[in-house]
């Protein structure tokens, strides 16, 4: 009754000549032929494939001996997010110094399964070192342990699960997320003093932002200040975040401070502050990360601060740490590295606005940057 069977049986009724068959089936080989070409397109001159790890010795700078061209795999949760552009510049700059290569892979949309698959592939592909953004408290533990047992150094960067001791990484290179939240909380107490305050978070539970809001809440509570706070979820996309924040303000006009713990919500807070002219009314605001709009609105006086977690260093240092681990046979290398907590305010924002750089990801040009006057 199905078409499928009817079709197949009809075909049996007629055979094709040999020439016809060869001509028609030749196409089938084309895919296999096309694949190597496609793959070749991807290889920039200066970076090899994962498999090419031990192909040629390259000289690292300085007095280091010739080393194989180590290949370090970075597993990321949002591979195409602009936040990580400086991280990738950091990786490239470090590997230019050390003669290593890298692969930037993982998931575009924080799909943990996809990330675990990439991690497993890196292990079976014989990566020389693996850096993982540990955005799930459990999922990465087994494969990370497997890699370490197999002699592959594994570090975490940008996100570290539930923190020190909860996953098997050798070291974490990134912001002390909870600590930065505490600093933010202290700043909120200092700026606002007392009254209702709102904290915005894009996606609660995501382990690269949740600890910040926890830290801020902790600091506000510990201060004993008379601040009532609310935590509001804004969502993962910029337009959605902005409209959530605006509608929150429209419903809560007595708010004394609006703060956010992720890049998108921070920009949303800044734009809402500008739209309603809230800075002039004494409302305080602040957040995280360096989206261009956020920086401009800080410069224009609409927002009090944003926190720079130095994403460039989150690529640069892992490469060095994994290289030293390989070079020293595990005797040196992985060390906890706090990539910092830099408050960007009206006083120092000029340096960010005047200079497009690899460190902020808005320029790929290699140059020496003069401090802003």
């Amino acid at each position: 009754m199905g078409y499928r069977r009817a079709e197949a049986s009809q075909l049996g009724g007629k055979r094709l000549s040999r020439r016809e068959m060869l001509r028609r089936t030749a196409m089938t080989g084309a895919l296999a032929g096309a694949v190597p070409l496609l793959a070749a397109c991807d290889q920039p001159e200066d970076t090899g494939a994962a498999s090419g790890g031990s192909s040629g010795a390259t000289a690292a700078g300085g007095l280091f001996p010739d080393t194989p061209e180590y290949n370090f795999v970075f597993i990321n949760h949002v591979t195409t997010n602009p936040f990580f552009v400086p991280t990738q510049y950091g990786i490239e700059d470090a590997e230019a110094l050390l003669g290593t290569t890298h692969q930037w892979t993982g998931s575009e949309a924080a799909d943990v399964q996809e990330m675990v698959d990439s991690l497993n592939t890196a292990i079976s592909g014989g990566a020389d070192g693996i850096a993982v953004a540990v955005v799930d408290p459990q999922a990465f533990n087994d494969p990370m342990q497997e890699a370490i047992d197999g002699g592959i150094p594994v570090v975490s960067y940008n996100a570290d699960g539930e923190g020190l001791g909860t996953n098997p990484r050798l070291a974490y290179i990134g912001q002390d997320l909870f600590g930065s939240g505490v600093e933010m909380g202290n700043r909120i107490v200092e700026l606002v003093g007392e009254g209702p305050v709102v904290l915005f978070i894009a996606t609660p539970g995501q382990l690269n932002i949740q600890p910040r809001i926890d830290g801020a809440v902790q600091a506000i509570k510990d201060s004993g200040a008379n601040i009532e706070f609310e935590q509001i979820t804004t969502g993962a996309e910029l337009p959605e975040e902005l409209s959530k924040i605006e509608s929150y303000y429209n419903g809560n006009k007595d708010v004394k401070g609006m703060f956010a713990v992720d890049a998108g919500s921070t920009q949303g807070v800044a734009q809402t502050m500008e739209k309603f002219g809230l800075a002039e009314q004494g409302v305080k605001a602040g957040g995280y990360d360096l989206l261009p709009m956020t920086l401009e609105l800080i410069d224009a006086g609409h927002m009090d601060f944003t926190i720079d977690q130095q994403p460039y260093l989150q690529g640069f240092y892992p490469v060095f740490q994994m290289f030293l681990y390989k070079l020293s046979g595990g005797l040196s290398g992985p060390a906890e590295t706090n990539t910092g907590l830099l408050f960007v305010t009206k006083e120092n924002v000029a340096g960010y606005l005047e200079n497009a750089s690899r460190f902020e990801g808005d320029s790929e040009e290699q140059k020496i940057i003069e401090p802003a006057s």
Binding site: G2, L11, R15, T25, T28, D42, E108, A110, D111, N120
Partner: protein
């Protein structure tokens, strides 16, 4: 493959029929069996990746490859049943995330096997609702299941407070359901086999083809088309939920953002690459499995080669387009051979 079918100069089709050589035989299989062309593509890709990186067929990587394949192939098998009916379930990626979450909540008060059954029942209810809305309210399944996609996406985040949950302690049950190595692909093979039997050797399968091929005719011939469609919606959702459980146990985390549209689109792509028609009436379970294998080999192979994220989707996209064009081309040969 290159071996001449018959001695030179003989072009009569009758002669070919009398003395088929290996080449002609293979070609014949390639053209007759819907799955054969995609199988050939899968083998060619595997040969290519193995020749360019010897780690490709190492035990560790074959395990990874099987993990890539298992869940998507199971979902894809469910989607094939629906696609043959001329329907689609866009929410199956969210059901994939939903079942483990329901299981987690049930596991707080009940024993694990019961919790797992409740997770699967929840998935079946999702399928039932999709089916009822499509069949009786006559909302096109594209829209009905799109609504379900958002609904479940929101529920998944709400029920978990947006925070990933740990899977239950390792036990025989969790190990059997994905936590132990190779169990995922084991389940996948069993399910593909059973679904293949269901589709090709039972009245249910026959009626499924009939419903998608000619719904009026089928209905007049006494096929209960509403029941077939609703049943297949439930089957698809349960397979999606089961795949979600396997994956959750495998990575020992129940992620509120697991699955989603990406998982669903991969499964649809796998079904279509394997020779199932989006328009209904035509489809194969084995083809869906092979389609998934092709996508998995491409994904895993390119990752293994060190292709970085920016270029990855460009290459994967082109590869899927090329693979699909070839498949459609061979499909056309199949049809023209029949005229």
């Amino acid at each position: 493959m290159a071996k001449p079918a018959v001695s030179g100069g003989v072009t009569s089709t009758d002669n070919v029929r009398q003395q088929p050589g290996i080449g002609a035989h293979l070609t014949e299989i390639l053209l007759q069996r819907r799955e054969a062309s995609i199988f050939f593509v899968a083998v060619a890709l595997a040969v290519y990746f193995q020749s360019s990186n010897s780690a490709f067929l190492s035990q560790g990587n074959v395990r990874t490859l099987s993990e890539f394949t298992a869940a998507t192939a199971i979902i894809s098998a469910g989607l094939v049943m629906l696609l043959i009916c001329g329907e689609i379930d866009l929410s199956v990626g969210q059901t994939f995330g939903f079942a483990p979450i329901v299981m987690y909540i049930a596991d707080q008060t009940l024993i694990l096997p019961v919790a797992i059954v409740i997770g699967l029942v929840a998935a079946a209810i999702v399928g039932l609702v999709n089916g009822l809305v499509t069949v009786y309210l006559r909302v096109p399944s594209f829209i009905a299941t799109l609504g379900m996609l958002f609904l479940l996406g929101g529920l998944n985040v709400t029920l978990t407070d947006g925070f990933p949950k740990p899977t239950p302690e390792d036990s025989f049950v969790t190990n059997a359901l994905g936590a132990a190595d190779w169990t995922g692909i084991g389940w996948c093979i069993v399910i593909i086999f059973l679904m293949h039997i269901l589709l090709n050797y039972t009245p249910w399968g026959l009626h499924t083809f009939a419903t998608g091929g000619n719904i009026v005719g089928a209905s007049e011939a006494g096929v209960k088309v509403a029941r077939i469609k609703i049943g297949n919606f439930m089957l698809c959702a349960m397979l999606g939920g089961f795949a979600g459980l396997l994956e959750a146990f495998r990575i020992s985390s129940i992620d509120p953002l697991a699955g989603g549209p990406n998982t669903m689109f991969l499964a649809v792509a796998a079904a279509v690459i394997g020779g199932t028609a989006l328009a209904g009436g035509v489809g194969t379970i084995l083809g869906a499995f092979l389609g998934t294998a092709v996508i998995s080999i491409l994904t895993n192979g390119f990752t293994l080669q060190g292709v970085s994220a920016y270029t990855f989707n460009i290459i994967l996209g082109i590869a899927i387009l090329v693979a699909m064009s070839l498949n459609v081309y061979i499909g056309r040969l199949r049809r023209s051979g029949a005229t």
